[in-house]
Every structure is written in structure tokens, then in C-alpha cells.
Amino acid sequence: MNDGASVTDKGRNDPGLSTAELEHAFHDMLLIRRFEEKAGQLYGMGLIGGFCHLYIGQEAVVVGVQLALKQGDKIITSYRDHGQMLAAGMDPRGVMAELTGRATGYSHGKGGSMHMFSREKNFYGGHGIVGAQVALGIGLAFANKYRGTDEVSIAYFGEGASNQGQVYESFNLAALHKLPCVFVIENNRYGMGTSVERASASKELWRNGEPWGIPGKQIDGMDVSAVNTATKEAVAYCRAGKGPYLLEMSTYRYRGHSMSDPAKYRARTEVDEIRQKRDPIDHVRNELLAAGIEEEKLKKIETDVKAVVADASQFAETSPEPDPSELYTDVLVEA
């Protein structure tokens, strides 16, 4: 059974990311973090309403995965989707404008924080029903196979979502039909206020695909290189037509579940400790410094990222709300 299965795979035995790739990763992770901080700020100012699930703390996961993909590979995720979109190369302006419900947003203001899509970047959303993206994700993989391409699909979901029945229906279908789908569990330890220990009888989520022969690995999701190495392996397995693969990324979200979460279910010290010892951005920064990259160069990246985020926010705030006529459009495709 289960050829790639192994316990925690913290270290890396392949060369990992090149320095240039690490720089790229640093940029993208920092972009996500600064973007999310800005989104939090705009929320505080009342410019973003409703639900807003920030990705802060989990940046290494999407960035590490994205660097293992090629053009045409498809991505789908939950409502915690801003990081995925930025990593996939979607325009921060369009994303921020959607968060603020403006006409210039990716969904013309009709999707919001949880629902954005981009055919061009092969980003299939942005789904608000916990677990739904997993069944949809194997459908993306089904399409890859049906069309005879070697493209793979990545279905991201939380450790909370991993208890949904349709996730196991999807494991079965994907294994049965050898669908090229990498299941990525983002185990950030909590589903809203419920810790993984209180929700899952399974203690090793990476083994949850075993009955279907789906190889699994647990990865340090705070280490972008480890994420990337594991994803490359998983993606190669899928491309070779061997079927689905499961990666459990051990990660952490620094902020509340959504904006209005007082986070009483965990101690401040728990968050602080992870921030100080395992922060994924500090991690890649240290790797870059160790590789001889100058502090100045990283500072420059930081300044650039800040400017991009400020521009996105300015763009969003000054964009008009959708025209009232938008209310009635896009309900059906007019044949």
C-alpha cells in the first residue's frame, strides 16, 4: 500500500528551493502577510464587512505549494482564500477591491472575501461550505484526466473540514478513478474554536487516506522549502497517473478564525510562542541571510511589498461600488 507514507518530514533531503526561489517565496509570503494585515485594518475601519478570514501565519503553505506547480494546474480552496489568490498571481488590487465590495473586484463585488475566482490563473474559488471544495477539487482533477492532460489539481481544506463525509467520498472517488488531485490539509489546529484534538478521533490526519491507498505525509507547514519539496513529490506522483496524494501541513493561524473571533479557546502564549519560534517568514528570511543575501535586498522587497499593498488598498477604497444594475446580471449565462 501507501508508498510515500512517512512520519513527520521536517528536514529536507532534496536540494530544496534555490536562492532565487527563496527570494520569490519571501516576496510572496510577505505580500500575503502585509495584504492580510491591511485587510484587517480596512475591516477595522468598516471598509470590509461580513466575514473576513485572514491567512496570517499560514503563508508558507500556499507559497511552497505554488512553487511546485506549472501552468494549467488548478487550485481550489475554502473561504480562507486570500493567500491562495495572491500566491496564484491574482492581482492584489482586484482581490482587495472584492474584499471591499467594489465594482473593480474579481467578482464585481458580488462574491466578497470568500468567493473569488480566476479562470486565467486557474483559481476555482473561494467556497464557503466547509468541505465542498474537496469534492469540487476532485472534479477539477477529473477534468484534467478527461481531457488527457497531465495537469494536477490542488484541493486545500482545513483540519476541521477533514471530518466532513464528502471528504471521504472524494478520497474514494479519486483513488478509484486515479484522479490527479493533491489533497492539502492545512492543519492550523483549530476549526473556529474547536481544537483538532476535540474534533478528530484520527490523530494522524496524513494517514486519513490510507484505507484508499492514498499516500500521505505530514509536513512542517511553517517551512516553505519543506512544503515545496513534499508538494513536488506529490505532484509528480499525480502527474504520473498514479492517483491522488495527501499532504498534511502543520501550520497555525495567528489571527482569530474570522475578524470577530475573540480567540478565547487558546492562550496568548501559544500564539506568541509560535510567532517567535516558528514564524514562516522569519524562517525564510533566516535562510536567505544564511545563503548570503544582503539585508538591504530584503529591505527592498519589504518596501516594494508595502507599496503594492498600499496601492491595492488605495485602489479598492477609491473604486466605485457596483452599479445597481449588477444586482440582476450573472444569474444565468444567456445562451
Binding site: 502585509r34 494585515e37 491591511k38 485594518q41 475591516y43 477595522g44 475601519m45 468598516g46 464587512g49 496570517i56 473586484g105 474579481y106 467578482s107 464585481h108 463585488g109 458580488k110 462574491g111 468567493h115 475566482f117 479562470r119 476555482y124 474559488g125 473561494g126 467556497h127 461550505i129 465542498a132 474537496v134 469534492a135 469540487l136 477539487g137 476532485i138 472534479g139 477539477l140 482533477a141 477529473f142 477534468a143 478527461y146 481531457r147 463525509g165 464528502q166 467520498e169 472524494s170 474514494n172 472517488l173 495567528y254 482569530g256 475578524m259 470577530s260 475573540p262 480567540a263 478565547k264 496568548r268 510567532r275 461600488e321 444586482l327 450573472d330 444569474v331 444565468l332 449565462v333 445562451a335
Partner: protein, 452 residues
Amino acid sequence: MAVQILMPALSPTMTDGKLVRWLKKEGDAVSPGDVIAEIETDKATMEVEAVDDGVIGKILVPEGTENVTVNTPIAILTEEGETVPETAASATPAEPAKSGPAKVAPEATTAPAVPEKSVSESEKDWGETEEVTVREALRDAMALEMRRDQDVFLLGEEVAQYQGAYKISQGLLDEFGEKRVLDMPITEHGFTGMAVGAALTGLKPIVEFMTMNFSMQAIDHIINSAAKTLYMSGGQMGCPIVFRGPNGPAARVGAQHSQCYGSWYAHVPGLKVVAPWSAADAKGLLRAAIRDPNPVIFLENEILYGQKFSCPVDDDFILPIGKAKIERQGEDVTLVGFSISVGTALAAADLLAEEGINAEVINLRSLRPLDIETIVGSVKKTSRLVTVEEGWPFAGIGAEIVMQVIEHAFDWLDAPPVRVAGIDVPMPFAANLEKLALPQPDWVVNAVRKLV
């Protein structure tokens, strides 16, 4: 440059809060993510984090202050080495909290105007016909569309090797192979989600539910994933998919296998809902459903599968979704039905004719979009309306039709419209009780007698 730190809103409804505690003091350096203060709303205590690098230059609102309005400056952040400006006001707000652009209230929903239409408008003549069963018509429709478009495929339980639980997909596996005719494990939620995902990429799946009762396992994907994605994506991502299977009561199969989902699905914007009666309906509408770029619910009826009707033989035969058909012309009363109830209405019309009452019978064919023009046109002629359906009356299709007729043709009505519907109970098993629960032609006749 010094910037103001503003009192944040931590929930969509928060207007003010208490500044409980400062965790940083004047002169402390902060960077993004550092917790600087704790605030309390009526619901919870929460932490305020810094979003910029800098030094807390001045605290403007001391801890313990109650009722601090959202967006009030609570502190000033300066850059390293910079002095605090004289007046707090001279610091620029971190981000001016612009009030959003003017909001325009949407117009109140009013009934859309119904264009006048001549009732006699007849549908295209497709020429030669042959007698076929509804079962054959459905199979032929799928085969024709699968030949025409490589992106069309069929999946469901027992659709391939078993040739269909109700033998609808007979011969399709042989012709199209297992790539395009796929047996699914009994896992409606999962395979429906999979099919919807494939449709989002542009493929055109036909999902067969063994019966529509089991589509309840998958209703989340039908509504939340298939029907809403086009809208949520601002028009980017359509979902060309057909969900089909036998709907409504069969015979003697009990409560869990005997239900009409017409009004359930017709409720949802983003879906089209079709309910054929004859073999021609089945063939023409299924072809249209497969070609439609939107998710279409296709409600069949097990009792009708074996019934024969004349159906055009023309290879191009197709019917438009959203157009009803007047199956019988009459002047005294309008009977509106869909699926098997069209037969009930026609049988009632025969009985009424014996009494000298001329009923007009409308076969809806589509529930959404509903061809209200044809119904209103007929009611303006007959001034009386009876709806017929096997589903329950409460919030049913009849209720919707009656309401729309009241909106559009109130002044033409000579009597209150009547709904004939399935009895408002779960379906019983006993043969006599089952018969008592389902609309019979004489129910319609009795309803009409009270109107004329």
C-alpha cells in the same frame, strides 16, 4: 510621518467599545502584528494589533475609557526619532476612513410586465413522427448530444454496465465507452461535487440520480456550488451541467421514495428546472438542457418511462427551455400541469367535455423559467384557473402560478383559482391510501365544477 491609530471595529455591528488596557506605553517600538491594546465590546474582549512599524508617540485615549467610538484616534504612531506633532489632529489618519460611495437603494421588486402574446402561437412543425417511449426518447437525446459534443458525459449509479437502474442509459456504454459513461459508487454528495467541479472547467456532465429523492444528499452542491458560482464569480465561471432522474411519486414505494422536488429546485435563482411529460418533451428538452450553459434540473417520472408518444424523427429536433405547450385548446377554464399531471389534466378535460365544459390544458414543460405569458394569455381567455401537481400544495408550483396570475390577470378572473395537489402528508404505502393521496382526474373535474 506620524500616523493616527484609530479605534477599530472588531465586528460588523460594533459602533463603540471600551479601551480596556494598553499593552504598550509611550515610547515603545511596535511592528506589525504586535498587540498594542485590548478593547471590549458588548460581546467580547479583543486585541488590537499594530499594522505599521513605529514608536507609540502619544496615547490619546487612556485605558479604562468607555464608549470610544469606532474610528476615533486612540494613539499616535511616529517613526523612529520623530517627535509627536503638537496637536493630535495634525497627524494624518492611518487611512482616512472614507465613507463609502453613495449607496443606491435597489428598486422594490415589482412584478415584471408580461408581454402580450397570441395564445394560438403554435410551435415549429418538425414533420414526420414515430411512436417512442419516454425511456427511448431520453436515451436518444443523450446519445445524440454525446455524439455531437465530446465534452458531454454521463455519470451516476448503475448507468454503465447495468444499463441504468430504470434502463434509461441502455446502450450508451457500448457506444461511448467507460470514459464517457461512468458508474459511480453510492456517494451522491461526492460524485455530484465532482461533476460540478468538472463543469466549472467547461465539461458538460449529465448526472443521473437513481431517483431525485437521493439528490437531497447532494443538494448543497446543486445549489451552493452549481447554481451560485456564476453570480459569485461576477460572470466568470458558469456551470454547464444537467441533473436528471425520476422525480415524484412512483408506485407503492413509500414516503422516502415518493416526492416531487419541483418547487424545491424551482425556488433557486441560477438553476433552470425542466419537467417533461411526453416523449417529445423528454427528447427535445433533454437535448436543450445538455446544450444549455447553465445548471439544469431535469425532472423525469418513472410512471411515464414506459409510455409511448409520437415524437419527431428529425435529427435536429429540440425544444426551447422556458416555453409551455398548449396541449388542448379550450375557452371555459385553464388547467395547468407539468410532468405526469399533464395526463391527469387531459383526462379531466375529456370528462369535462362530456359535460360541455371546454378546458384548455397547458403543459408547463419548464418550471423555471416559468412561461407565465402562456398561462396569463390562456387565463385572459378562460377567466378560470386550476393548477394540477403531485407535489404538496404548501409553497408548491401551483401556489406560485396562482400568485403570478393574480399579479398579471386579476381583473380577468371570474372565480378564485384552485390548486389541485398531492395531499399534505408523507406518501403512505397501502395501495388505497396512496391513491387517495394523489390527484385524480375527478379531483380536477370537481374543482372545475365549482368554478363554472
